[in-house]
């Protein structure tokens, strides 16, 4: 008999007899309905408490803000998506202004440029599918246009979040967006920059992923 069948058979014919499944009441996860402003305050507080950075900006002002942020950090290159509106806006903005870093488009399989991705990219910018106020989390569903490593390999990750897409809790976000109906190959919650406390409980940032997480909130 295969291990699979042997394991399943043992589980099916347990000596203790039938087990009954208890009811699960998820209402303990419910929170009062917060306004967008309250959610944003909460989101900001929580993500900042773990070293994330939040910049409130607008539909027309975010590129200016981004340019400023990247300049102060001396970033020379920014990884963008080809098709997403964020990437497109940056591509057209860079034609008329000089204060943005060199834009790199992630449009080739990683195998063809892995070395460069790991060593030459200073920052990456991605969209989000919303945020979670309670835990200060960003929801990312990497895609063909915004691949998984965009938010992981560059030392600075910039995420664009619409304030109107903030949810109170993870449970709420998942239910509202009906995740159970179909998951992407990879879905992520990102709640701050990469960190470790493995050396004597001392926090250090940027251990394997980005050292900085910067959220541009479009109000």
């Amino acid at each position: 008999m295969s291990s699979r069948d042997a394991i399943l058979q043992r589980l099916r014919h347990r000596t203790g007899g039938e087990l009954t499944a208890p009811e699960c009441d998820f209402s303990v996860l419910n929170r009062p309905e917060w306004s967008t402003a309250e959610k944003l305050d909460m989101f900001e507080r929580t993500i900042e408490s773990v070293h994330g950075e939040v910049h409130r900006t607008t539909e027309s002002g975010w590129i200016d803000r981004l340019a400023e942020i990247l300049q102060t950090r001396g970033a020379g290159t920014l990884l963008i998506a080809k098709e997403h509106e964020i990437g497109k806006a940056l591509q057209s903005a860079t034609k008329s202004r000089e204060d943005l870093p060199q834009l790199l488009i992630y449009d080739e399989p990683v195998e063809s440029w892995q070395e460069a991705l790991f060593s030459e990219v200073d920052a990456g910018i991605t969209s989000t599918r919303g945020g979670i106020a309670e835990t200060g989390s960003l929801i990312l569903w990497p895609s063909v246009d915004e691949p998984r490593l965009m938010s992981l390999v560059p030392p600075i990750h910039i995420a664009v979040l619409k304030a109107s897409e903030l949810y109170t809790t993870f449970h709420h976000a998942m239910q509202s967006q009906n995740w159970a109906a179909g998951m992407p190959t990879n879905a992520l919650l990102i709640s701050g920059p990469s960190k470790t406390a493995d050396i004597e409980q001392t926090l250090a940032y940027g251990v394997h992923g980005p050292k900085e997480l910067i959220v541009l909130v479009i109000e």
């Binding site: 291990s3 042997a6 394991i7 399943l8 043992r10 589980l11 347990r14 000596t15 203790g16 087990l19 009954t20 499944a21 208890p22 009811e23 699960c24 998820f26 303990v28 996860l29 773990v50 992630y106 399989p109 990683v110 070395e115 790991f118 309670e134 835990t135 200060g136 989390s137 895609s143 063909v144 691949p147 998984r148 992981l152 809790t169 993870f170 449970h171 239910q175 995740w179 159970a180 998951m183 992407p184 190959t185 990879n186 879905a187 992520l188 709640s191 701050g192 990469s194 960190k195 470790t196 493995d198 050396i199 004597e200 409980q201 001392t202 250090a204 940027g206 251990v207 394997h208 992923g209």
Partner: protein, 479 residues
């Protein structure tokens, strides 16, 4: 550093708990490292749950796990079916050895010579690194704590913070000796160096091996909880990802992970959430630009289906591996993780490991507890750990009457002398006349009572029989 900690699990004798515990207790460095860390973790956990109805949340956690266990075989089949539909290959392993062989076969089929690993306690259980090295495949840990432990040729001393037994100075020295970094107490510097060294490895590794925190049957999704990003690297950069997990990790619905995640990270490190919650539901699609082209899940039994047979012991399988029980355990805090000599230390280890190594090997595990109850009180899924410890103590001394042998090594600690004494004790207590005669004889000849009762009086004075029995005194009072 205690000399015992240097050993790999292959030659650790689990039975030798006492000498290891004694050595650890007399090692001020170990005492200090653990005390400091555990105090910090307890405080953080407490504040992370402020404002929560914690009891109700723990009830939900327990119910979610119980519901999953109630339908375990069906859920595993559903998980397998969903994962297969999603393009993930599912393998089943009866024990650690078979799981290792499965991983090896996948590596061989891909001509892989190097494996990068994310944190996985099940792979520790399998002793995967050791096995792969023997097969000529390099296996490198990428979680910073695991990396440190691997460089030191040790095993994790905590399931969440593997290198918690070392302080900065010890780690600095180790990294200097093994990787040539400067001697420095600057944690930023040490971390940055590890980042550099491991990034190289991520790029060149052929296979990534990770654990799984929750496997969702409904959608065929593998969930990983982590802070460093090494888990994401491991599951994204190499072209092949192999996840290994115990068969108990499955939950029915995606919704379930929201409550378990809320409990897990707060209980473990006092975080509202970890930096990354990584949900994997398939390999790279044809038009995607990164991610592994192959994803495998190895479902490992290794004694779990035996635990599953018994209504009480079954609760062991609820565990979500948060480590809160060890953080709050007065014994663990004093002896540290290596004293146990087992893959899983602390309270969860004491109730889980006897099933894996047998009660003969693990005879001291259920007794390495003061039964203070702290573990059961903090467990996010309400595992009655103290009750299970008592049950395992019974199992280790019972003949085969009370419970048919459920645990390997059942009755290993039974001594016929002790059994006889207890038999006599219960015989006398069931007969009032004999009891009275016994106690009054005891009072008369109390001078003859031995002053030492074996181990019990090693640190205690022996109780003395009173000159008059309670019955005699009560009789006088009523006259």
């Amino acid at each position: 550093m205690s000399e015992t900690a240097q050993q790999s699990p292959h030659h650790i004798d689990v039975k030798e708990f006492h000498p290891r515990a004694r050595a650890a207790i007399h090692n001020p460095q170990i005492r200090q490292n653990f005390r400091k860390a555990m105090d910090g973790l307890m405080t953080k956990r407490k504040s992370a749950f402020e404002g929560w109805d914690l009891e109700t949340l723990r009830d939900l956690g327990a119910n979610i796990r119980l519901r999953a266990l109630a339908n375990l075989p069906d859920l595993l089949e559903q998980l397998e079916q969903k994962l297969t539909e999603n393009g993930i290959t599912v393998h089943w392993a009866a024990d650690g050895d078979e799981a290792c062989e499965i991983v090896r076969d996948i590596c061989v089929a891909r001509n892989a010579s190097s494996v990068i690993k994310g944190k996985s306690m099940v792979s520790e259980e399998m002793e995967l690194n050791h096995y792969l090295e023997e097969q000529g495949i390099e296996a490198l840990e990428s979680d910073l704590g695991e990396y440190i432990v691997q460089l030191a040729e040790e095993t994790p001393s905590h399931i969440i913070m593997p290198a918690i037994h070392k302080n900065t100075e010890e780690i600095s020295q180790l990294l200097h000796d093994k990787t040539g970094t400067d001697l420095s107490h600057d944690v930023e510097y040490l971390t940055a160096n590890a980042r550099l060294q491991l990034r190289e490895k991520f790029m060149n590794a052929d296979v990534g091996v990770s654990g799984v925190n929750f496997a969702v049957a409904e959608t065929g999704t593998l969930c990983l909880v982590e802070n460093e990003g090494n888990g994401r690297m491991t599951t994204t950069v190499p072209l092949c990802h192999i996840a290994v997990t115990g068969i108990e990790k499955v939950v029915p619905n995606l919704e379930d992970v929201t409550a378990l995640l809320a409990l897990l990270t707060r209980s473990a490190t006092g975080q509202h959430i970890t930096t990354y919650f990584n949900m994997i539901s398939g390999p790279r699609k044809a038009d995607e630009l990164d991610g592994p082209e192959e994803v495998h899940l190895v479902l490992v039994d290794n004694g779990r289906s035996t635990i599953y047979q018994d209504d009480e012991l079954l609760d062991t399988l609820r565990c979500i591996r948060c480590g809160a029980c060890m953080n709050h355990c007065p014994v663990y805090t004093r002896v540290g993780g290596h004293a146990y000599g087992t893959t899983y230390p602390g309270p969860i280890g004491k109730i889980l490991m006897p099933h894996m190594v047998g009660l003969d090997e693990g005879r001291h595990l259920p007794t390495a507890s003061s039964l203070c109850g702290a573990c059961g009180e903090v467990c996010p899924v309400k595992i009655p750990i103290p009750d299970l410890l008592v049950r395992l103590r019974q199992e280790s001394v019972d003949g085969d009457k009370l419970h048919p042998a459920k645990v390997r090594g059942h009755g290993a600690k039974r001594s016929s002398m002790e059994a006889m004494i207890w038999k006599g004790w219960s015989w006398m207590h069931a007969r009032p006349g004999m009891y009275r005669m016994g106690t009054s004889l005891g009072a008369r000849f109390r001078k003859l009572q031995p002053g030492k009762f074996g181990g019990w009086t090693r640190y205690r004075t022996a109780p003395k029989l009173a000159a008059r029995t309670l019955h005699e005194r009560m009789k006088e009072r009523s006259q």
